[in-house]
């Protein structure tokens, strides 16, 4: 046991005896799903002061809208400008960010997909670098996003803040499971863990899929483990309801795609807890949360500058619909300068009585698209993304016609060829035998603002 504990400390350096008991409780739980992944939080003692300071800062420094970039942002851009090759390439020497902010060229997912080495600051220390793979379900790029464990840990207090605004104060200690992240995909990682950022409280990522565990087992797992709150996407929460899991958490935090009002009401009525819509991406971290009175999304982090842009990258009038762009952030390997998220909203500069932070209204472009297999079974875009990820490509669009047929358009990577047979085989497994047309288009998305494409679309069947 001691050897296992010591080995675990590689991944969870701040693991103590109580944390280890929680870890073992989850890991060895008889009703647990099949855990298929090993992961820790990699947080070190030296990271904790910044975490505690950030927790205070989020409460004390609510973001306030201002028409021009704030001083902290300009100082940050000036400090990083000589270190970030892509910025240097796009901004001539002597460029004045304060005077000419709106003329700074925007950046987008394609910059991360194809030029990450030009974005990572030249002086960044790489030894603790970690990598997240994103599937690009909404905007059509597969990405490898580098990050730092200490920066990832700062997302915890942002989530705590959103929960507290809904009156939810979970117990963050090694005697409780703080959170279970729910998925509902044919294939995904599942693991149990503890978070030092939450005093080694328990955490598990589970998958509501027959391949992972049975419905009965899942029901009993939730009842016995009793997580304080759940995170997941609307598709997963719909599966949670569908699997008739009765466990009532203190809150459900929904991310990834648009949460419909109907599903939110249904979940709230069924589980008697707030369902909190949370806006976050792997590239940016958390951006905004929906408050308890349903009045748009309030900006969460104080160290992010939000703009709403027109297709040419100029700010639109307050209250006009445009693309959300962010600058700043906490990821030391991915400094964001006017980064276009691909999501659209209207910005209301005024906060509300609960929170003075600017708010986003009509946040959209994240509506989930469910495809249908030949058998009529739903197919999640994340499962399609797993197949697409085997190929080197920049963007893709998948359209399912009303008759079920599929048309996949791929903008290939610069060097690699697309393995059409591998794609066909993968699609056959997911969809059964449906007609599939594969088109390679090197220009896909190039004529659209920010290169944005609608990655997943489905034609409605008549009637």
């Amino acid at each position: 046991m001691d050897a296992e504990f010591a080995a675990r400390q590689d991944r969870n350096p701040l693991l103590d005896a109580a944390g280890w008991r929680m870890f073992c409780f989850l890991h060895q739980h008889p009703r647990a799903p099949r855990w298929n992944y090993q992961v820790g939080d990699r947080l070190l003692a030296k990271d904790l002061p910044a975490l505690h300071a950030y927790r205070q800062r989020i409460i004390q420094e609510r973001p306030r809208w201002q028409p021009d970039p704030p001083d902290w942002l300009l100082a940050w851009v000036e400090r990083l400008l000589p270190k970030v090759p892509l910025w240097r390439e796009r901004l001539p020497a002597g460029f004045d960010p304060r005077r000419d902010w709106v003329h700074i060229p925007t950046s987008c997912r394609e910059d991360i997909a194809s030029r990450i080495e030009q974005l990572v600051p030249q002086n960044a220390e790489l030894s603790r670098l970690i990598v997240y793979e994103t599937n690009g379900t909404s905007t059509g790029h597969a990405l490898d996003v580098p990050n730092h464990p200490a920066a990832v840990a700062l997302n915890h207090p942002l989530l705590e803040f959103a929960l507290s605004r809904h009156g939810v104060r979970p117990r963050f200690d090694a005697q409780h499971v703080a959170c279970v992240n729910v998925g509902s995909e044919a294939r995904t990682v599942t693991f149990a863990n503890v978070f030092a950022a939450w005093n080694n409280a328990g955490f598990a990522k589970v998958n509501l899929h027959e391949a992972s565990w049975s419905r009965d087992q899942a029901r009993r797992f939730f009842a016995e483990v009793q997580p304080e709150f759940l995170t997941g996407d609307p598709v997963a929460f719909a599966a949670y309801a569908d699997w008739a899991i009765d466990y009532k958490p203190m809150a459900m935090v929904s991310t990834a795609t648009m949460l419909s009002a109907e599903l939110k009401q249904h979940l709230e009525a069924r589980h008697g807890c707030p369902v909190i819509d949370f806006y976050s991406t792997t590239e940016t971290g958390p951006i905004a949360y929906a408050g308890p009175n349903g009045d748009g999304f309030s900006q969460l982090p104080p160290d992010l500058y939000l703009e709403i842009l027109d297709p040419e990258g100029y700010p639109v009038e307050a209250g006009t619909l445009g693309e959300i762009a962010v600058s700043g952030g906490r990821n030391p390997y991915l400094p964001l300068l006017r980064y276009r998220t691909g999501d659209h909203a209207r910005l209301d500069p005024a906060g509300n009585p609960q929170d003075p932070a600017p708010r986003l209204h009509d946040l959209h472009a994240r509506a989930p698209v469910l495809f249908r297999a030949a058998s009529g079974a739903p197919v999640h875009p994340l499962d399609i993304a797993y197949i697409l990820r085997t190929q080197s490509w920049v963007q893709h669009e998948l359209l399912q016609g009303a008759d079920g047929s599929l048309r996949l358009t791929i903008r290939p990577g610069l060097i690699a060829r697309i393995d059409r047979q591998a794609l066909r085989d993968g699609f056959d497994v997911l969809f059964g035998k449906l007609p599939l047309e594969i088109i390679e288009d090197p220009q896909l998305g190039s004529n659209r603002p920010g290169g944005k494409v609608i990655a997943y679309r489905r034609e409605q069947s008549p009637g």
């Binding site: 901004l91 020497a93 080495e117 580098p146 996407d233 990834a256 991406t281």
Partner: protein
């Protein structure tokens, strides 16, 4: 271009002229519905003053920035238009053709490297721009031999300095890119760290 029958231009008066560039020449170049300054009109005006021809529609289009990346070139062209309106150059039909090519393509490299306004606000960049323009037109500043002029321009040359810097930087950045790629592919990095929700 001989320029032999021209009076040699005074360097100081031209750098002073740059320092005193009127704000109208520093206005935002027009692009679509944005900006106020019609750079193509400025260029046409200058070429007519020099005794040259009107711009063709294609040449005029080339002076309208298509995106933010081309904006700085248009700003630099506008500043050069002000500089070349000096009486040293005015009504010299032999300059019309080299001026046209200078404004059309001769400033491209510089515009990528240096913010245009620096050629107004910064002493060294003012001298560089004046010397570069004179060199393009085959002229020497008063009191300097061609050799001295070339030597001094070489010392100020932003493009050449950047070329040397870039060569060094390219080697460092290539090494850095390899290191980053290796680190991003490392097993430990791919195991990432747990996240309480998928998207952050």
């Amino acid at each position: 271009m001989s320029g032999s029958n021209m009076q040699a231009p005074l360097l100081d008066s031209l750098t002073r002229r740059l320092a005193e560039t009127p704000s109208v020449f520093l206005a935002e170049p027009r692009r679509g519905r944005r900006g106020q300054l019609e750079v193509a009109a400025l260029v046409t005006d200058l070429l007519l003053t020099l005794g040259g021809d009107l711009l063709t529609p294609t040449q005029a289009t080339a002076h309208t920035p298509r995106d933010k990346g081309e904006r700085n070139r248009a700003r630099l062209v506008a500043i050069c238009c002000w500089l070349l309106h000096d009486e040293t150059f005015r009504q010299r039909p032999e300059l019309a053709s080299p001026v046209e090519t200078l404004l059309q393509s001769g400033l491209n490299e510089l515009a990528v490297l240096i913010d245009a306004e620096r050629f107004v606000t910064d002493l060294e960049r003012r001298e560089e721009l004046v010397r570069r323009v004179l060199d393009w037109l085959g002229l020497c500043p008063a009191g300097e031999s061609p050799h001295q002029a070339a030597d001094r321009l070489g010392a100020l040359d932003s493009v050449e300095r950047e070329r040397v810097l870039r060569a060094t930087r390219a080697r460092q950045e290539a090494a850095r890119a390899r290191q980053l790629k290796k680190q991003m592919q490392a097993r430990q990095a791919r195991e990432a760290a747990a996240k309480a929700n998928r998207e952050w």
